[in-house]
Amino acid sequence: MWRYVARKLLAAIPVLLGAALLAFMILHLSPGDPARLIAGENAFEEDVENIRRKLGLDQPFAVQYLRFVASSAKGEFGRSIRTGRLVRDDVGARFPNTIELAVASLILAVILGVAAGIVAAVRPNTAYDYGATFAALAGISTPTFWLGLLLMLLFSYHLGWLPASGRAGPPWTIDGLRSILMPAIALGTPSAAIIARLTRSSLLDVLRQDYVRTARAKGLIERIVIGHHALRNALIPVVTVVGLRLGALLGGAVITEQVFSWPGIGTLIVTAISSRDYPMVQGTMMIVALVFVLVNLGVDLLYALVDPRIKYE
């Protein structure tokens, strides 16, 4: 299995470099001058020129990219043009918050999604099923930022129950938990819906299997049949999707963070793109891509864990 992990990790390296190169190329094609953006519209041209030199922006693109790659190999991922700090440090200060938000959304999504999926599957083609399916589809169809705005209006402004924005602390404190709740709901809703639908179809599938029929035939009550026999197997594909959702959530967090002023990498990267902070965008992309790869690998391994039929060489 370790060999499998090593092979996957090695295969990820070209993807990471490619991701950084793609980010680098797109950004260099974009109009705008990072030195001018740092100096501000009030600055004199000679100062802008000076900054350009100091930051190495006067060097050929290839040199800039290779410098970045060398710095990434050291684990530093370059130095931000805008803040002057190592990209590793800037991302390191914020990425844990994004992961925290993504994981919280995922937990909410799994709880709600699996529950709704079971309700729908146990009584297929009834009002319960249609209701759950419809709710799930509505969940996928709602723009998360719009949902976030409405939640904020309701729970913060009108009811005064939850803080409107920011991160008040780690999620194991009451304040921290209160502050993460709304962004997690907004971000997690589409995932909850997807998990609900998957749970439904997967459970329906399992319930038709022979061993479930046997269990029923033995006269076991429905709750035990579903709880102990069917659910366990039905959740295997759900596990995969949960892992894959984590990746989608990291992306979705960009907009949710914007709405709730959540201190994650979303705001960081939006600013980095708009200020043409090349190293910051490349570095963040590489780090995010790296996390993607690791998450996918984790999902692969987890899959093997829950489904003993799968083995990795």
Binding site: I38, A43, L55, R85, A93, R94, V122, V259, T267
Partner: protein, 520 residues
């Protein structure tokens, strides 16, 4: 079925528990301020955006400062005098002042700082301004003399009152290395305590501040980029201080006794630049038609009442250097006149009300950033709509800020919604940059030798009366060129919780606003 039901009940209980419990009131005086974005870095040589300037101005100080009513008074300098040839400024520094790290503030630190701003290797964004300085001389421990290459009335404004004038601790620079830019050490009323990226900057009280007692124990600055979120935070008690609100909320909050709206004119002007290098705007009559076609007072009243005030000259509304009303060329809203001017310029009314010449419609593209300035995009939408009614085939082109700046600076535009922010109303800060030939923000590429000469003269005119006269004439000349359509001057606005007392609104560039503030 049992499992999810239990889980759901647990979740519901959880929600009730968290939402029910409020935060306990802090015993210490902690004032929470909504910043418009996260701070970037604190090396004064490279601070140019508002959120960082705001925080830096509370931690670090300059030699001089502007008061609320616009006077220049000493901050770290107690007094100063100007030599007979008007080139050497000699500052007597405040004695016994210490930086937050305990090191002493004296003439050698000032000298070190000024030389650092001027050092090309340091990558300062203020170096060009500071290069007016010819010589720096430490007279004694508490006296420093700065000699300029040539006399300049506006030296204090142009140089010392920039962010480059903020003086950090030299000891901190020597000991902190790369961290210097992220842990500011100054002499101000508040000392830097903590910066959690994207979450908050915490400033503590400086018990040894030379200016006297500082009331708040702590200032917490939280970056809240969305205007809307800031208002909800203020109304729900999450913050005590915000700086932005749209007109409707502003009206609502100013009627609500739980909040106080503070408002003074600022020196941030917004205007539409007309590029004279591009047809059809190379024709003066077409430019005049544009000016007459836009109903600025109506647009600003509708979209930004309370946040901005309309203006009709290139200097900030309310500036002492503006000529008295009625004594200068202006372009009040007059659609008929706009159409007449177009006809005079050869643009005949065509189908759909759009003017045509040689079969070509009168195209006009108005570039604007989105959210960079208050209601920028919306103001342009309204302006474009009115331009269309006057016969222009007007299109708004919303651009990302980076691309906008690059196109505008490169002259790749017809008309653009621009802003120019200064912290004082010193007229040369506006005129020399925006309309002088080759000015660094003269995007219209207009050139008027008579105007240039007038502006150069004004810079060395040391009599206040003479300066006013010269700038009054300059304002009129600029309006005659019609290369700039003045739109509005933004107010400096603060909306505070009614619990916040002792806050003094106004003084540009200083941290003294919060020195006496406390929460009831």
């Amino acid at each position: 079925m049992g499992i999810p039901r239990t889980t759901m009940i647990l979740v519901l209980i959880g929600i009730l528990v968290f939402t029910g419990s409020g935060t306990s009131a802090p015993a210490r005086q902690e004032i929470v301020i909504a910043g418009e974005a996260d701070v970037v870095q604190f090396d004064p040589l490279r601070i140019q955006e508002l959120p960082t300037s705001f925080v830096a101005g509370m931690v670090m100080e300059r030699l001089v400062m502007r008061t609320v009513d616009g006077k220049i008074v000493g901050q770290l300098a107690e007094r100063w005098k100007l030599s007979v040839d008007r080139r050497t400024w000699t500052f007597s520094l405040r004695q016994g002042v210490r930086f937050h790290d305990g090191s002493e503030f004296d003439a050698s630190v000032v000298e070190w700082h000024l030389r650092r701003v001027m050092d090309p290797r340091e990558g300062s964004v203020f170096r060009a301004q500071f290069s007016d300085i010819e010589r720096i001389q430490v007279v004694d421990k508490h006296t420093i003399a700065i000699t300029l290459k040539q006399a300049n009335v506006a030296f204090l404004d142009l140089v010392l009152l920039t962010n480059g004038g903020l003086i950090p601790s030299r000891a901190a620079y020597d000991s902190l290395g790369k961290e210097f830019a992220f842990k500011p050490v100054g002499t101000g009323p508040f000392r830097f305590a903590q910066w959690v990226q994207g979450q908050r900057v915490v400033l503590g009280r400086n018990p040894d501040w030379w200016g006297g007692q500082v009331k708040p124990d702590q200032l917490v600055i939280r970056p809240i980029t969305e205007v809307n979120t800031g208002i909800i935070e203020l109304e729900t008690g999450g913050v005590h201080f915000i700086t932005r609100a749209n007109r409707e909320d502003l009206e609502r909050l100013s009627k609500d006794r739980r909040f106080v709206v503070h408002r003074i004119p600022s020196y941030r002007i917004r205007y539409i630049t007309l590029n004279t290098a591009q047809p059809p705007l190379n024709d003066l009559r077409v430019r005049q038609a544009v000016s007459h076609a836009i109903n600025t007072p109506q647009i600003i009243k509708a979209l930004a009442d309370g946040m901005a005030v309309p203006m009709d000259t290139i200097l900030p509304a309310g500036s002492a250097f503006n000529p008295p009303p009625g004594t200068y060329t202006a372009y009040p809203f007059n659609r008929t006149k706009a159409r007449a001017l177009l006809t005079e310029a050869g643009w005949q009314p065509g189908p759909g009300g759009i003017a045509r010449k040689d079969g070509q419609p009168l195209r006009l593209v108005l570039h604007t950033p989105n959210g960079r300035y208050f209601m920028d995009k919306e103001i342009c939408e309204a302006a474009c709509n009115q331009l269309r009614a006057a016969g222009f085939d007007c299109q708004v082109s919303v651009m990302e800020w980076a691309a906008f700046l690059s196109d505008v600076r490169g002259g790749r535009f017809q008309a653009a919604f621009n802003g120019w922010n200064q912290s004082t109303d010193e007229p040369s800060l506006f005129m020399d940059a925006l309309v002088k030939t080759g000015g660094r923000a003269n995007y219209s590429k207009a050139s008027d030798p008579a105007l240039d000469q007038l502006l150069t003269e004004a810079l060395i005119a040391f009599s206040e009366g003479r300066r006013k006269l010269l700038y009054n004439r300059a304002v009129d000349m600029v309006n005659k060129l019609a290369t700039i359509v003045p739109i509005n001057t933004e107010y400096k606005v603060a909306i505070t919780s009614g619990r916040l007392e002792g806050y003094t609104h106004g003084a540009p560039q200083t941290g003294v606003e919060f020195v006496n503030a406390f929460l009831k």
